[in-house]
């Protein structure tokens, strides 16, 4: 820097760490001349108004609203309303127990079961959350890659289906040695997703066809294509007309990480690797540079000699490859056989997770775990208290919305805005 002593410019030392490629403004250090005291009090305030504090408050807020919904829909509570004025205590104790039962069940179902009687039962919920998060994280990474390159891949769903189909088919048809089989099946899944997404990439690059349209349409095509495959002997290997494939061979299974008691499998490691890979790809590789440049300003990229069209195709292929990998992990890790609903709502949940994680690998990793925890916890809440799963969807969406809107949470809790230079770049 030319004039470090000038008051108008931050001193060299105040430059943010080594994150050359970081998007948002991220100046952790205060302005020069900060006194230690000011720093300390600021740190305190930041803790409350900072990202973490706000995330916690967002959670609290969503749970409070969820609690209201639970209270007013639980029969044991609403029945006390009829005599609320003669004995309000009943209402409050019923409400309290309904809400606390629900949320305790949710926590026990998704994080740690403190009532468990063995290591297995105590930690089982957490591993379930990790298991469910696995494909979600991977698919969300795919969505995020496209998103940062200015493409909106709404077709993760279809790509997951193709990935699962390819991986599954290799898994239950071929017979290969240990390790090799699972690797080949995974590669097959990656290819399946990449090919499917590339259709949208190529059409976008060659004809300008908008990727949102094409990927939405391809979702349906993939769905029906799989439905068709499931009626053929070629695919189901049986004359029964159950639309279900055989299970993948033993060598094609992703190995379990914690033994038979847990469903947690090596897919979780794959998810971690994928996150690291995407981080590296987007911030440390020339490909990522190119992806991001085209995403931000295709004109300037083209002037700088970057092939915009080829980049579109590459981006979609990488994005689809990750979605395909998610499909592969789903089949080889937990589901074992291919059915029409193999993709569930993975593709759409992945969009939420990707954006909730601000399209960054670390963010996605935690967003995926959070989303999965809500999912897993919600199901155990339904099982334990009868709170319908649909209500869980409502709570889930509220949590996501509030977490994504720190200023709203601050406004509700009447917290001061964070220092301008300390604000996290919210999506």
């Amino acid at each position: 820097m030319s004039q470090p002593e000038e008051p108008g410019t931050a001193p060299e030392a105040a430059e943010p760490g080594a994150d050359l490629t970081g998007r948002g403004p991220s100046q952790p250090d205060g302005p020069p001349g900060d006194t230690g005291e000011a720093r300390a009090s600021r740190a305190l305030r930041d803790a409350a108004t900072g990202t973490f504090g706000v995330t916690v408050l967002a959670f609290v807020l969503a749970l409070v609203i969820g609690a209201l919904l639970i209270v007013f829909t639980t029969d044991s509570v609403t029945s006390t309303l009829s005599y609320f004025f003669s004995r309000p205590g009943d209402f409050f104790s019923a409400a309290w127990s309904a809400v606390s039962d629900s949320y305790v069940a949710m926590f026990r179902g998704s994080i740690i079961n403190d009532r468990g009687w063995s290591f297995t039962t105590v930690f089982h919920p957490l591993t379930e959350t990790m298991t469910v998060a696995t494909p979600l994280i991977i698919a969300a990474l795919g969505v995020a890659v496209a998103f940062r390159a200015g493409l909106f891949n709404i077709g993760a769903q279809g790509q997951v289906i193709l990935g699962a189909t390819f991986a599954g088919y290799i898994g239950f048809t071929w017979h290969l040695p240990v390790v090799v089989h699972v690797v080949v099946a995974i590669v097959g899944g990656i290819l399946g997703g990449a090919i499917w997404a590339s259709i949208a990439g190529v059409l976008r690059a060659r004809t300008g066809a908008h990727e949102v349209i094409v990927t939405i349409m391809l979702n349906y095509v993939a769905l029906y294509f799989l439905a068709y495959l499931l009626t053929t002997r070629f695919f189901t290997h049986s004359s029964s007309n159950q639309p279900k494939s055989p299970a993948v061979g033993p060598n094609a299974n992703l190995p379990l990480l914690l033994g038979e008691q847990f469903r947690l499998n090596a897919g979780f490691l794959v998810a971690i690797l994928a996150a690291v890979f995407v981080w590296w790809l987007m911030t440390r590789s020339t490909w990522g540079f190119r992806f991001r440049a085209v995403g931000s300003n295709p004109n300037a990229s083209r002037n700088a000699g970057i092939g915009v069209a080829t980049t579109f195709i590459a981006v979609m292929a990488v994005s689809g490859a990750l979605a395909g990998l998610a499909g592969a992990v789903q089949v080889l890790g937990t589901e074992k056989s291919v059915t029409g609903g193999i993709a569930g709502s993975l593709g759409f949940d992945a969009i939420t997770v990707a954006l909730l994680g601000r399209s960054k690998p670390m963010g996605i990793f935690f967003a995926g775990l959070l989303y999965a925890a809500l999912d897993v916890g919600g199901r155990s809440m339904e099982a334990a208290t009868g709170t319908p799963i649909d209500l869980v969807l409502v709570i889930q969406s509220l949590v996501v919305l509030f977490i994504a809107a720190p200023p709203l949470v601050r406004a509700i809790f009447r917290l001061p805005a964070p220092r301008p230079d300390a604000k996290g770049a919210h999506a």
Binding site: S2, A10, L20, G22, S296, N303, G305, P420
Partner: protein, 525 residues
């Protein structure tokens, strides 16, 4: 209307862009703001216009404090503004842009487009801008967009008019027109705040000059002060305003354009059978009124628009190659519109500085980026080009206009080149930096690179050129020596051939003639 700014302070994070600035604009006064790139001029004006909220200080209109929540309030208070970064809706027509916000309607909220067209024509005729009300703004060269922006501000009859570098891409004649208008407005009692880097203009029109440096007012100057004095005040050191360069030592001719033709979708030749050659160690300046094909010519060189004919660099044919291959072949390119074509605004300074070399050594090994090398490069360029930024990792979009331009120039001039093609290379750059950039361009020439400069700025053309090619309606009217009188150039820019122009341009009628012809050109294209 009297306007007063008191103690205005605006911070961007740790950066204090405006530091307790006081400014008084008297009614009917042209108040010039001078300051180097990044001094905080635009920021101050944006605060005044309600686009930014000041952290401290107050704004007084006719001695009463006002609070502008947004530009709407400022407009209502009678303030108008021409923005440095155009505030034009790219997909709208000129007429739509001009009427936006105070649209004439025909009852029922239906737009009266005809009325808007008439308004545009009237104003455009008055200033000799030659605007087509139905042209779509994004299709227009920046110079024409600049005129739209001016018309848009004038059409509202503001009582205080802020002009943030309105002349950056105007021809000298257009600038003179604008100055005439400013005088006229001033006579009617309009106050004007005028930001420019061109000292000639300041001296011509300003009543008061305030100089800002690094966010703070450093003093006032009189319009009578010498240009060098003003320049020194702005930059804080003495600046030499001319370019002292050795005469060219043209070497071997390595860059040839032959029968180059670019057609628009309707088949009209916007670059029409253009041929020229540039030798190593020589600067060819392409002069001409905006919209006569210079933009397309430069874009054709880098393969951005399809062209026929031939462009050879050291014997290698460039027509038909992709931009990637052309840049690889050693072409350095500075597009005329930096924010649209030159920079990725939400990339960092460091990233923008390697935008076209990120994938090769030393910035990449295989497909892995070397962030250290990228950062070191950024540090070096920032230092060398005096780019005012909070650091290599600041987003380029947050730099001041002139500093963004320096980023593009720094990037293109710091890789090994076999030819350098630049459109409006010093658009919006302050005098101190122009001096530096011009020196850099001359150094590139002296290192043996053929250089092509496209500029509407005759001062710049005169300062840099070894030879001048004048374009008119897509064709090269003639290629003349650098010392050709301005009057002759002016005639040529109106389509008169070089010989004829020389013949016509006798000493006595020179100025007058040049004026008229160039205006016609402006009106026609």
């Amino acid at each position: 209307m009297k306007l007063e700014l008191r103690g205005i302070t605006k911070r961007f994070g740790p950066l204090v862009a405006n530091d307790h600035i006081d400014l008084v604009v008297e009614p009917g006064q042209v108040h010039a703001l001078l300051g180097e790139n990044g001094a905080g001029k635009s920021t101050l004006m944006n605060v005044l216009f309600g686009l930014y909220q000041a952290d401290e200080g107050e704004i007084l209109v006719d001695d009463a404090a006002v609070a502008f929540k947004g530009p709407g309030d400022a407009l209502a208070a009678g303030i108008g503004m021409v923005h440095q970064h155009f505030m034009l809706v790219p997909v709208f027509t000129v007429a739509e842009n001009v009427m936006l916000g105070h649209e004439p309607t025909r009852g029922g909220g239906l737009l009266d487009l005809d009325a808007a067209r008439r308004t545009v024509r009237e104003l455009s005729d008055r200033f000799g801008f030659g605007l087509d009300p139905d042209a779509v703004v994004e299709d227009l060269p920046v110079g024409v967009q600049q005129r739209v922006e001016i018309v848009k501000a004038l059409v509202r009859d503001a009582r205080v008019l802020i002009l943030d570098e309105p002349t950056a891409v105007l021809t000298p004649q257009e600038t003179d027109e604008l100055i005439a208008i400013m005088r006229e407005l001033k006579a009617q009692g309009t106050s004007i705040v005028f930001i420019t880097h061109k000292l000639r203009e300041v001296k011509a029109v300003a009543d008061v000059i305030t100089v800002i440096r690094r966010g703070a007012v450093v003093g006032e100057a009189s319009p009578d002060a010498a240009e060098t004095e003003l320049a020194a005040m702005m930059v804080g050191r003495s600046v030499s305003l001319g370019v002292d360069k050795e005469p060219a030592q043209p070497g071997e001719v390595t860059f040839r354009v032959e029968h180059l033709t670019v057609r628009d979708p309707n088949g009209i030749a916007v670059v029409d059978d253009v041929s020229f050659a540039v030798a190593r160690g020589e600067i060819l300046a392409v002069a001409g009124v905006q919209g006569n094909g210079q933009t397309e010519l430069s874009e054709a060189v880098v393969g951005l628009v399809p062209a026929t004919g031939s462009i050879t660099l050291e014997g290698r044919e460039l027509v038909g190659l992709s931009p990637h291959e052309i840049l690889d072949a050693g072409v350095g390119f500075v597009p005329e519109d930096r924010t649209v074509d030159g920079l990725v605004l939400d990339f960092t300074v460091a990233e923008n500085l390697v935008l076209d070399v990120y994938d090769r050594r030393p910035f990449a090994r295989g497909i892995a980026l070397d962030l250290g090398a990228i950062r070191d490069n950024a540090r070096a360029r920032i230092e060398e080009y005096d780019i005012r930024t909070q650091g290599p990792s600041q987003e380029v979009g947050r730099l001041s206009g002139g500093n963004q331009q320096k980023v593009v120039m720094a990037r293109e001039l710091s890789r090994p080149l076999k030819v350098f093609v630049a459109s409006q290379p010093t658009r919006g750059v302050d005098v101190g930096s122009i001096e530096f950039l011009h020196k850099r361009i001359v150094a590139e020439r002296d290192a043996g690179t053929p250089v092509v400069i496209v500029s509407t700025e005759l001062d710049e053309v005169a300062a840099l050129a070894d030879r001048i090619a004048v374009m008119y309606r897509g064709a090269v009217v003639g290629i003349v020596p650098a010392d050709t009188p301005r009057a002759v150039l002016g005639l040529m820019m109106a389509g008169v051939s070089a010989e004829e122009a020389h013949a016509q341009a006798t000493e006595t009628e020179l100025d007058q003639l040049a004026d008229e012809h160039t205006h016609e050109t402006g009106a026609q294209q």
